[in-house]
Amino acid sequence: MIYNSFNFILLFPLLFCFYYLIPAKRLKWRNGYLLLVSYLLYANWKPAYALILLGVTLVTYLFARWIDDEKRSLKIVVGGALLTLLPLLIFKYYNFINDSIFDLLSKVGLRFRLPGLNWAIPMGISFFTFQSLGYMLDVYHQRIRAERDFLSYALFVSFFPSIVAGPINKANLVIPQLKALRPYFDYGKAVTGLKMLLWGMFMKVVVADRVALYVDTVFSSYMNYTGVTCFVASLLYTIQIYADFAGYSLMALGVGKTLGFELTENFRRPYFSISITDFWHRWHISLSTWLKDYVYIPLGGSRCSKIRNYWNIFVTFLVSGVWHGANWTFIVWGCIHGVLQIIEKIFGLQQLKSTSCPVRIGRILITFLLVNFAWIFFRMPTLDDSFRILGRILTIDGGFSIYMAGMRDSFFMVFGLFLLFFKDTVDEFFPAKKTIMENKHTALRWFGYLFIITIIMLTGVFDAGQFIYANF
């Protein structure tokens, strides 16, 4: 479900109304309705791919029950994990593996390539695969019992607010909510959900999509722009990916909340991090939690020798890079984060505590610049492009002139960035203070909502932008 689309604005009120027409005590009817809606929305994109979703759901459901019955059989969990990962491997990584092997063999004079696949990647496959795999592994590690009710489990995997681009929810957070008798309607949650939806929409269409116009212009022909312009574009891309992904996540959480559900928080003002370690406690929290629980800790975590610990960190972030995309650029991006965290661990930097404001600001800036540098690899289509852009930035190629977007676009960008920065700063450093949308006076709150809606309508970019993370 694309939240910044007109279809969503038309459809969601209807979905909401029909959901609340069902009496609260008819739990199965409500869950059945949500399951039907989730599958219909998924199938609306590509009907055949709903079968992939169903297949992954069935495999993990059945294997989890089998693991539960057989009491932690390693062979069963490995078999189940491989079957669960199979669609992801085929749809997302087959061509990459095929091309990479071909490139490697070509270097020794062998030209062998399997036929390529020209299939679209099922939307959200990385997310729902990890979510269901996580559930199965939780059953294996006896953190939870296998879910016997297929309806509840299928809804957990396919829940429409979060299926396309997360968050990757834990079964022990969501399934109990699905099975518990919920209040008919939670006014507080619904209002909070709508506020999250509104602010998430602002982040996406006012900030992310506006900034993307500049970033795409520069990065699509970076050789025509100075190194300083490329650096400015990289900074704006850092903002774009945050506003895009965090905005979407906020909307997903908001939709879930209006229906009475609490989903996993996914972002916590990551660009105020004071270290790379801190960054990964604030950025895509659901993924970093998943990687910690199912990759880092099973490898030994930090309960091993230092060298082994560094290796575990590296492998975890290598997996993160691979998860993000079938391209060497994502793998290098993941490795950069892994290496930076290892360096922090070696020098104990992530444990440094300082209440000094200049020191804190300095650490925030350095972390921001390091993250910004890594995002270049994430954004560019090839490693060659990434290194060329870095080369232009570091050698200040072409002089100090900066490409300026038109007055209008520049104004909209600055205005949107200012509002976003202001709100995040208040939330981070003055959490006790309330922004206008949390003011106790209704008139002021409503003025705040009206202001944001007007800004969205007047300055939002609506020309069919897609979420960056919906391609994962």
């Binding site: 007109f6 279809n7 038309l10 609340y20 008919y184 309607f185 006014y187 619904a190 209002v191 022909s221 050789m223 025509n224 007055m407 209008r408 104004f411 909209f412 409503w446 909502y449 009206l450 809606i453 007007t454 309508m457 007047l458 300055t459 939002g460 970019v461 609506f462 020309d463 069919a464």
Partner: protein, 302 residues
């Protein structure tokens, strides 16, 4: 739940009133504009009556000098080009303009990305037209042909001014007359980018809606207006021209001229005449306009 529904309805009413108020205010301010892009478009649709008009993307805006055309052909000329725009927008403008008069000559500078390719979302070609929805009703159907949902979206009056309200406010507070050269906007400076070779081989998917609008333009106007499609020069260009084959076929069917200067040796490779790979500078534009107008003059005389 009842409290929630009542508050939502109240708030929705407030939003609708606010939306209406902003929409009416911006509409009035737009009518008072004395400069800027929005005013320029309003002027083209509602006021100009020049015998020769030029349409197309930024390559139209920056490549055709109306004063030279006027001098050579002895009739008035206006450059109606707009950056990043193509036939979808220009057809809407044409519909409005021809409610008042039919120009003697239409020179349409074709740019495949905006006029033929389906690579970009066609909503982008509606953005400049939004402030004129309903006030210039003949363009409304163009909106619906791109997306039938525009009918519902455009009910929100604030949405009509999406991305344009700054231009409208600026055009009222501090009007800049950007069309003092009858719509032509010269580009000053030297070639300052990495050379890129543009190909005219068919490497795009043709957008059927755009082709449909070209056909409609030719059907409606080819016996009232001399329509000439032109590809102006690029800095470096190769290819067999197959990219434009579908439009060329239409031109043959309706007896219109199609002139291709994309690989003209008088311009290709001459850095002194270009500022970008696909934009002539003022010197190049003047040379090119002189050349094209001579060609048009000869064709008309024949």
């Amino acid at each position: 739940m009842r409290r929630f529904v009542i508050r939502i309805l109240l708030f929705a009413t407030l939003v609708a009133c606010f939306d209406y108020g902003i929409g009416v205010s911006l509409s009035q301010i737009r009518k008072m504009n004395k400069g800027g892009d929005v005013q320029r478009l309003a002027n083209i649709m509602n006021n100009i009556d020049d015998s020769v008009i030029i349409m197309g993307s930024s390559r139209a805006v920056h490549h055709y000098v109306p004063n030279i055309i006027k001098k050579e052909l002895g009739v008035s000329c206006y450059n109606c080009g707009f950056e990043g725009q193509g036939i979808i927008m220009h057809y809407a403008v044409w519909k409005e303009l021809t409610k008042r008069y039919y120009p003697k000559i239409l020179i349409y500078d074709v740019e495949a990305m905006f006029d033929l390719s389906n690579e970009f979302d066609n909503h982008r070609y509606l953005s400049r037209l939004k402030p004129f929805y309903k006030s210039n009703p003949s363009i409304d159907s163009v909106f619906w042909s791109v997306d039938y949902k525009e009918k519902w979206k455009m009910l929100a009056r604030t949405y009509q001014y999406n991305s344009n309200f700054m231009d409208i406010l600026a055009g009222w507070i501090h009007p800049i007359h950007i069309d003092k050269d009858n719509g032509y906007i010269p580009l000053e400076g030297a070639f300052n980018v990495e050379p890129v070779t543009i190909s005219t081989n068919l490497n795009i998917q043709i957008d059927s809606l755009k082709l449909k609008y070209f056909k409609m333009l030719l059907q409606e106007a080819s016996n009232k207006t001399v329509i000439i499609f032109v590809i102006s020069p690029y800095y470096d260009c190769t290819g067999d021209g197959s990219k434009y084959e579908s439009l060329r076929t239409l031109c043959q069917e309706y007896g219109c001229l199609f002139i291709d200067y994309s690989q003209d040796k008088d311009f290709n490779g001459k850095k002194g005449l270009f500022i970008h790979n696909d934009h002539l500078n003022d010197i190049g534009s003047k040379l090119y306009t002189t050349k094209i107008v001579k060609r048009i003059k000869n064709s008309i005389n024949e």
